[in-house]
């Protein structure tokens, strides 16, 4: 089994080393690749100095473009599983084994690490974000009939079929909710597992408060497009 962890990183000079270090110790059976989204800080230099496996994008593409690059890399190198772990340290690599086990056990195509599946402690994001998240949860349920409690979570494991799907088509802005709706509508099996996440370890989130309204409108419209698109034939 070839297994890959994709680490999208934009200006994560403060956290990238500890993220990789933690991954190496909790997920020793996984390869990893950092996708440096044209960072303007020392992310690239730190990766080079520590001989970390990194792909440096020549221009900034955003999280969607960066993750798609990772999926293309996974596809080219014939990986069976791909997991997204953000370069900011919010995702806890120790849960990867649980995600993988659940995927294998249920035969699903994607397992999302959800902060809201069960009532746990652990960082659950700001109140404003949580309202947005429950809105998207509701919207996805309306469009697909499937309840996803944490559609904005980037912490997700996919199998080979979705690696190939996402390598050829992946949303460019705010991809998390849209990609889930898209995958479900195409006939893939998506599940969730309960996880905890950490608070961001330094650096600044790429979604600022001012952009939030644009984010909500754009993703909602994108979901409408997914709803209206006629998917003939599953890619599975």
């Amino acid at each position: 089994m070839k297994k890959l962890i994709i680490i999208p990183a934009f200006n994560e000079e403060l956290s990238i080393q500890s993220v990789v270090h933690r991954i190496k110790s909790s997920c020793s059976d996984y390869d990893y690749v950092i996708i440096n989204d044209c960072s303007t800080d020392n992310t690239k230099r730190i990766c080079e100095q520590n001989q970390l496996n990194v792909i440096n994008l020549p221009i900034n593409l955003g999280i969607g473009g960066a993750m798609q690059t990772g999926y293309k890399y996974a596809y080219e190198n014939d990986y069976d599983f791909a997991v997204q772990i953000d370069g900011d340290g919010q995702h806890i690599p120790d849960y990867v084994a649980a995600l993988e086990a659940y995927l294998v056990e249920t035969g699903s195509n994607m397992v999302i690490g959800s902060r809201f599946l069960k009532l746990t402690d652990g960082f659950k994001s700001t109140k404003l974000r949580r309202i947005g998240i429950s809105f998207f949860s509701w919207l996805i349920a309306k469009i697909t009939g499937v309840l996803i409690t944490d559609p904005t979570s980037g912490f997700r494991l996919v199998d080979k079929s979705l690696i190939s799907e996402f390598a050829s088509e992946y949303p460019s802005d705010y991809p998390e909710p849209e990609s889930v709706a898209f995958a479900i509508r195409k006939g893939y099996d998506i599940r969730e597992v309960s996880v905890k996440m950490e608070e961001r370890q330094g650096g600044v989130s790429s979604i600022r408060k001012l952009k939030s309204i644009y984010y909500m409108v754009k993703v909602t419209l994108a979901m409408l497009v997914v709803y209206l698109t006629n998917f003939k034939g599953k890619g599975d």
Binding site: I59, V217, K218, V225
Partner: protein
């Protein structure tokens, strides 16, 4: 009582705008148009639709603009919308050409690196 918009004109506008909105959505669904760049068009078309359905709003706006005829106000508004969209496209184009330049240089340097190996 003076009608703000003749009914025929009103229906004409409403049908036009609805056809336009549907065409945009169809192109986005078929992936011929990026959702991001269609947003402004959809927003402006939406506002024009509301104005065409409720012409009384147009009276308010034309008073604000000090324009005598409401129909003129509608056209001025439509022109302003199109100008805004054009400008946003100019900005997007500028950004795109900058990125293409960066890509071109990267490829050229990559080729050089491969030659030297």
């Amino acid at each position: 009582m003076i009608k703000i918009l003749t009914t025929r004109l009103q229906i004409f506008f409403i049908i036009c705008v609805i056809i336009f909105i549907i065409s945009i959505l169809r192109m986005v669904i078929k992936k011929n148009l990026e959702l991001k760049y269609s947003l402004l068009w959809l927003f402006c078309a939406g506002i024009l639709l509301i104005l065409a359905i409720f012409p009384k709003l147009l009276t308010v706006i034309s008073e604000l603009m000090s324009v005598y005829s409401e129909v003129n106000a509608l056209f001025i508004l439509a022109f302003l919308f199109v100008a805004t969209i054009l400008f946003s496209l100019t900005i997007a184009l500028s950004r795109s050409s900058k990125r293409i330049r960066a890509l071109t240089q990267e490829i050229a340097l990559l080729n050089k690196r491969m030659e030297n190996q």
